[in-house]
Symmetry: C2
Subunit: 327 residues, 2 copies
């Protein structure tokens, strides 16, 4: 490895926020040597507690995260926050209000914040988030919080990689439960009805509790449902108690779980494959001739995909062995 | 191709809804011969108008889709609806209310509905949706509507493949604009503020218009923003006029656009690669030994991913040619 990288790693390990930020960028941008960085730091990771926060847009996740991150910071924990942010050329890459609140808490001494744009990272988002968690972990952050803006399939995948998942909703005309139901309920370790100073919070708590009651096999496994308000501070103490308990438990447990590690290897392979496809098979005008064949009606996307795959030896192998599917 | 499949294709091409449903299932389940089906039908596709509908959960997308689908049906168009549905073991695979409304409109003669579960299809969702569009197109549907429940990165990708994208929001405490801003604004051809019988609709229309105004380069390109209510029927006529205009334009235009075709080839390749990784590289206990190496601290996920890739010739090739990245 280049000496420059080795020094950057050393500095990040010794609490330099600047080195940490540079290290993350180096890996995110896939600059030469990024993989060496990941391999080098791995042995010193696995100690951090990863908390995933997702839920309906507008539920006030950023304010809530800001609130409990500050309190965890006050208790002496060092904290990394990853804001997964569907960047849009439109909104200037960020949901403005959120970012302003984020900037506010980033002045706290124990809190390090990093935004991750999702645009153009499809498929690789999850791995990119894992990489950033790993680097923050190496840099000694006690707690890493991953917050997503939306609640789509990709965002669910991202927070699923966390040790502890918090689903946040709010009283918003009674439709908010729908957002949380949509495929995410089963990954929640904790359900938070935020903005509980608004009317209707209790109804939502009852609805979620009823759904959890119906679907969870043993009463002991039913995750807690709490009400919070980042505005009136109601429920924040209770939230802190629950999080502290999880943090204590995690600190005593194993560093890595087999299923998480398995998922990570799969995710690395997928991300690499997708980038190989984009850069080398279909990119740089490599398939203009083939596209013309499709547009002129002489071929179809499936036949062309087969043809492009055959240029790479592995696909020949695979095809031979999977005749049933590739006829 | 098996005769059974050839007959199924023929029947689907002759308006048999049962054959159409079976054909879709055959392809979705990746049963033997599915790719032959896609290759065979391709030449007879490209005629349908694909309308993508996405937006905040709870915005009433299903009711709105039901409303305009019925009216398009009354005008003599045949319609296919694909409801992309984040299935959850929790909610029984569907957001119940939506499905009930959907069942209601499925009794309409000209409307064919298909639900697609997203669970477990990560990465492949987009291609799976394209496949279903293609099959409905082949079966002669004049219009195919893709409706997503959420508004995450994957859902955005799915509707991006449509010819025309409708973004739906609603007056829900003022936070709804945030949901539509989050990375999706730039893909919208039409903005709909639904449930406009509720208070606050005009404010949301102004907010969206202001954002569009700021970000769109020429005034002529600013997409329309309309108010609708599936309940009072306000705005539905205007929506119908806008959709009719798009449908007329699309019917006169080229069947396929180069960029869409390029995206489809990439998407097919990615989907196949990911399934190869899951089934053959990391699946069936193929990497238990490697996982133990990681858990015992003797290796790390990146080194193991490299090792697993090397077992497949293409990766050797790629590695040789990309030395800078794979050191």
């Amino acid at each position: 490895m280049e000496e420059k990288l080795a020094l950057m790693i050393e500095a990040a390990g010794e609490n330099s926020e600047r080195a940490l930020a540079k290290l993350i960028s180096h890996v995110e941008d896939r600059k030469t040597g990024w993989k060496d960085i990941m391999k080098t730091i791995y042995a010193k990771t696995g100690r951090t507690c990863v908390i995933g926060v997702t839920g309906s847009p507008g539920a006030g996740k950023s304010s809530l995260v800001g609130e409990f991150a500050k309190r965890l910071g006050d208790r002496g924990y060092t904290i990394g926050i990853i804001a997964v942010d569907p960047s849009s050329p439109f909104s200037g890459g960020a949901v403005l209000g959120d970012r302003i609140r984020m900037r506010d808490i980033s002045t706290y001494q124990n809190i390090f914040i990093r935004s991750m744009a999702t645009r153009g990272m499809l498929g690789g988002l999850c791995q990119a988030a894992r990489d950033v968690v790993r680097i923050m972990d190496f840099a000694g952050k006690d707690i890493v919080i991953i917050e997503t803006v939306g609640v789509g399939q990709d965002e669910i995948e991202v927070v699923s990689a966390a040790d502890y998942v918090m689903l946040v909703t709010y009283p918003g005309g009674g439709d908010s439960v729908q957002a949380i139901k949509a495929g995410v309920m089963e990954i929640g370790d904790l359900f938070v009805v935020n903005k509980c100073d608004r009317e209707g919070a209790d109804i939502i708590v009852s609805e979620i509790s009823a759904m959890l009651d119906l679907s969870t096999e043993t009463a002991a496994k039913i995750p807690p449902v709490i009400k919070t308000s980042a505005f009136t501070k109601e429920g924040i103490d209770e939230l802190m108690d629950i999080l502290s308990e999880f943090i204590q438990k995690k600190k005593k447990g194993p560093h890595y779980q087999k299923d998480h590690v398995r998922q990570e290897v799969i995710s690395i392979l997928e991300t690499e494959m997708v980038s190989i496809i984009k850069e080398r098979i279909t990119g740089n005008g490599n398939m203009e001739k083939e596209l013309e064949l499709i547009l002129s009606g002489k071929s179809d996307p499936y036949s062309i995909a087969d043809k492009l795959m055959k240029r790479f030896t592995v696909i020949k192998n695979v095809e031979e062995k999977r005749k049933g599917d590739f006829q």
